[in-house]
Every structure is written in C-alpha cells, then in structure tokens.
C-alpha cells in the first residue's frame, strides 16, 4: 500500500484529493454517485453571511476546453449552511472546509468566527471574479490581502487557507504576503476572468458579461502559478485548475502542490475525484513511489 496522506497546516487529509469550491455543491448533490468517505476533503460552495441570489442567467457557457461561469456566489448563507448542510456532511469520514466570502473584513471575520468550531478548515475566497466588491477586490490588492488575512487569522484558530486569484501580475507576491499575514496554506487558482460573445445576438453569452474561465484550458496557467507560488513560500499549496485525471493531478503535485482540488471535472465526470485518487495510487504503485511526499515538488529543472 502506498501512503497518500498529506497535511495542510494542522489539517490531516487521508489523501490529497479535494473538491474545488462551487463545483461539488454541498456534497449531498454527489452522494449518490460518489462515496464521500473516500475524499481527502470537501470544500463547500462559497458561503456568505446572508443568503445570496447570485447573478441572473445565463450563468455558464462553454469555451474551447473550458467553461465560463458567473454564478455570483448564490448560496444559502451561513445559518442554513450550519444548520442544514453541515450535519449531512458530518456523517461522512472526510474533512470539511468552508469557503467564505464577505464584502468587508468584518464580514470575513464574522464568518470565520462562526465557522471556526464547526468546520475543519476555512478557505478565504479573495478571488471570486463574479461578485461586485469583496472577493477579487481583495485578491488583487496586496495591502488588502494582508489586512484581511491578518484579521481573520486573529479571529479563527482552524487551518486558514487563502484562495488566490490568477488575475494578477505576480502570483508570488500574493503568496508571500498571504504566508506572512498568517495563512496556513494557499489554494490556487481560482477562475481566470474571461468573456464570450454570441455573434448572432451580439450579446455576451453570460448575463454578467464577464465570468471565470475554468477547465483544462487553464491547466497550464494553473500549473505555472502553483510552481511560482510554492517556490516562494513554505506553507502548503493546494493546486487546482483543469484537473480532469490523475495524470493532471500528478502534474500539480510535481509542480509543488501538497494537495489538489478537482473542480469543473466534477460536472463532466461526476466520478472524477475517485478516479483521480485511484489513478494517483496506481501511478505510485507502478512507479514504486511509496509516499506521496516523494512526488510533491518533485519537478526536475
């Protein structure tokens, strides 16, 4: 048997395969198709203090090897999340990570404080391209990123993961600032800001004009950023962006990711997470790699 456990801060995962926020609902949507007990962790859909309606449709469209989304963080709000969604997730033997989004530092702090006791880790979404204010406004500004993480860090004891935006000039800077401000780990990448136009109607394909690009198309960008970020920090990086298969996941591990998240692939193949786990184990067995730590950051260059 190969050893695939990894640690993200004080969070111990039985394997490095996580679901990417917003692509696995609250877990229950997949429970008929996927044995949730097998997952390293589940990151729930982004949550805000109040329930949010999200953006008007159309919210998604397909692009070459990818898709755009502008869901706009439709979510049930923290109360319903804690009361209705968490108890279901808690029945499974997997770690639960809450992905949170606020408009102000105070909102992030309040969210973190309320979740600190009930989830296993908190992922700060400072990179959502699909909401006005909050989100990416933080994630594109180094000083705001710093202040936000610092404030949340003081308020919460659980493992704190900062999810970075790829829509910046220098991902390394944001990685370093996140580490210095008290983040225990980094998640990257969130979606890349993008746009598509229907030439017949002359209208944007998304109601919100711009949306976030995800899927295999962005994988080479994500691998690059994971590599750049993981080289300049000592905290673990959770890599994501277009992971469809075990081979893709291994690419991220070699680039320096300690764990990986499967996002858009869940839509295309609901069993993608399981196949990635099995595929990583198989690859290790064939290659006689006993411990996944021998893959992490194993790029030769």
């Amino acid at each position: 048997m190969v050893r695939v456990e990894v640690d993200i801060g004080r969070l111990h995962l039985k394997n490095p395969v996580i679901t990417a926020s917003g692509t696995f609902g609250y877990g229950e949507e997949y429970s008929d198709l996927v044995d949730l007990n097998r997952l390293g962790a589940i990151v729930a859909k982004g949550i805000s203090l109040k329930p949010m309606d999200g953006n008007p449709p159309p919210r998604i469209c397909e692009t070459p090897c990818g898709m755009l989304n502008s869901i706009g963080l439709q979510n049930v709000g923290i109360d319903v999340f804690i009361k209705e969604k968490l108890p279901f997730l808690r029945r499974y033997d997997t770690r639960i990570i809450a992905n949170i989004l606020g408009n102000t530092i105070e909102e992030y702090v309040e969210l973190a404080m309320r979740l600190d006791d009930v989830v296993d880790a908190i992922e700060l979404n400072i990179s959502c391209p699909n909401v006005q204010g909050g989100g990416i406004a933080f994630g594109r500004d180094l000083r705001m990123t710093e202040e936000l993480i610092f404030s949340v860090r003081k308020a919460a004891k659980k493992t704190l993961i900062t999810k970075l935006s790829p829509n910046v000039s220098d991902i390394g800077e944001f990685a370093k600032v996140s580490e210095a401000s008290g983040s225990d780990a980094l998640s990257l990448i969130n979606t890349v800001m993008a746009m598509s136009i229907d030439i017949k109607t002359r209208r944007p394909r998304l109601f919100s004009v711009m949306g976030g690009l995800s899927g295999p198309a962005i994988r080479p960008i994500a691998v690059r950023m994971v590599w750049e970020a993981s080289r300049v920090v000592r905290i673990p990086v959770i890599g994501m962006g277009g992971i469809m298969k075990a081979e893709d996941a291994i690419e991220f591990l070699l680039a320096g990711a300690t764990a990986i998240a499967v996002g858009t692939a869940n839509f295309v193949n609901p069993r993608a997470t399981i196949e990635v786990i099995e595929g990583i184990e198989e690859f290790m067995e064939k290659g006689k790699i006993d411990n996944i730590k021998d893959l992490i950051g194993g790029l030769i260059c």
Binding site: G22, Y30, L33, K45, I60, C65, G66
Partner: protein, 255 residues
C-alpha cells in the same frame, strides 16, 4: 435521487426528418425507469472539447433499460452525437430532474414547438386516458414535422401549425391553441418548446385559469444541482432547472 452514471449501447441512431435524429439506447446496467419530462446528460467525447455534457429529455421508454432520445442537430455537440454509430457505447448520466406530474383531468393538452415534441411523446405514452388527449404541434415547415404518425395514433385530437403553412394551419402553435381551447373545464396543459412559446402558453393558461406544466431549458454544466448554472427566475427566487425542474408550474416562472 436515483440518477446513475452508466454506459449505454447505441441500438440505432437515424434521421427522423432533416436535421432531427432518433437515437435508441440500451443501458449496460439497470437504471430506474425515468418519468416523462426527466432528462439525461450525455458526454460527447472522451477528450476535452466539447467539454460539457448535453441535456436530452427522455423521448420514449422502449422496454427494460432501453430508451430513446429525439434530438435536433443544433451545434457541435449534437453534430457529434449524430455521427455516433450503432454498436458504439456512450457515457450517460441520469435520469435527472423532476419529470411531469401525474394529474387527473378531463382533458390533457400537449403543446409542442419543434423539437419540444420529444418529451411529450413519452408523456402521452404513459397517460392512461388517451381519449382525453389533445396534441398541438408547431413546426417551421412541413419537412421538419416529426412524430406525426405516433401522435395521430395516440391522441384523440391533433392540430398542427407550420410557420409557412406547408402543413396544417399557417401560423404558430399558439394560434391554433387559442382557436381550439374553448371547452376548458378541467384542462391541463403540458408544454415544451422555445422559451417564447412557453411564455405564450403560460399567458393562455393564465387567461383560462388552468394549470400548465412547462419543460424549461437553460444552459447546464452538471445536471446534478451542484454548479448552480442552470437557474431560472421563479416567484420563489432562482430555481435550478436540473433539480427543481425541468418541469415547472407555469405560475412559478418569472418571465
């Protein structure tokens, strides 16, 4: 929830009329018999482009683990589907969504616009009281008119409209619906077609104060309720077409 991810063998994939195809599938494992109005998400390539699955309603259940989908070749995904050969296997997720409700009524009115006929055939076939069934169908032109034979065999009355008048009445399906919907006590409408048509069906239903169930469409990624991509506006906020739908009470929809 009883959706499954399964492989299905293509028993047949043949043109139904120019631009329309009928595919018959045999699931390679047991699936629950779908309710009319439910749908399947089909994966079109093992690669990454086109990336997303495509949604298709159940057209007809043709015996244990066998069913049909009727589809219009629209873009790249349906083009690929149309080229799949008999004997090949495809990757299917479903059945998904709520399906049409089973209701008793004096008269069941089925209203189809174009390819909207697809799920209504399956619905009609599972209805007990075929003598209470009226079919209203609209097409652009005669050559696109599909399923006429089957509808004629099933329904007590059939009305057809074409935009160019090449078959039946000249006009839209709403025109013939308006003309013929007089005797409306205890009537229920079931409709599928373009959004604009569905809105006008809803107007008709509102005017006559009768029930109407509409099969709605929206762009989908997951089909499982997780991506929140497929929402439509309803009186109770956004609802997911793939989960709370695709069949909606017309009164719920905010057009």
């Amino acid at each position: 929830m009883n959706e499954r991810l399964f492989k299905a063998r293509v028993l047949e994939n043949t043109p139904a009329s120019p631009g329309y195809m009928l595919i018959s599938l045999e699931c390679l494992e047991d699936i629950k018999r779908p309710i009319p109005g439910q749908f399947f998400m089909i994966r079109l390539c093992s690669g990454n482009d086109p990336l997303l699955r495509r949604a298709f309603s159940l057209h007809a259940w043709i015996g244990k683990n066998r069913f049909q989908i009727l589809y219009r070749i629209k873009g790249i995904g349906t083009k690929i589907l149309s080229e799949i050969q008999k004997g090949q296997t495809i990757d299917v997720l479903g059945p998904l969504g709520n399906g049409f409700p089973k209701r008793k009524a004096e008269r069941h009115v089925l209203v189809a616009g174009g390819i909207g006929i697809a799920p209504l055939i399956g619905l009609a076939e599972t209805m007990d009281e075929k003598d209470k069934l009226s079919f209203f169908m609209g097409f652009r032109t005669k050559t696109e008119a599909i399923c006429l034979d089957r509808v004629n065999k099933m329904a007590a009355s059939v009305s057809v409209a074409t935009e160019d008048g090449s078959l039946g009445q000249k006009g839209t399906v709403i025109d013939i619906l308006n003309k013929n919907l007089n005797n409306i006590k205890s009537t229920i409408i079931y409709a599928c077609g373009p959004r604009n048509m569905l809105k006008r069906v809803s107007d008709v239903a509102l005017r006559h104060a009768i029930d109407a169930y509409l099969s709605m469409e929206e762009y989908m990624a997951c089909g499982l309720g997780s991506c929140l991509g497929c929402v439509i506006r309803t009186t109770q906020g956004y609802k997911r077409v793939c989960k709370e739908g695709p069949i909606f009470d017309h009164r719920e929809i905010v057009w």
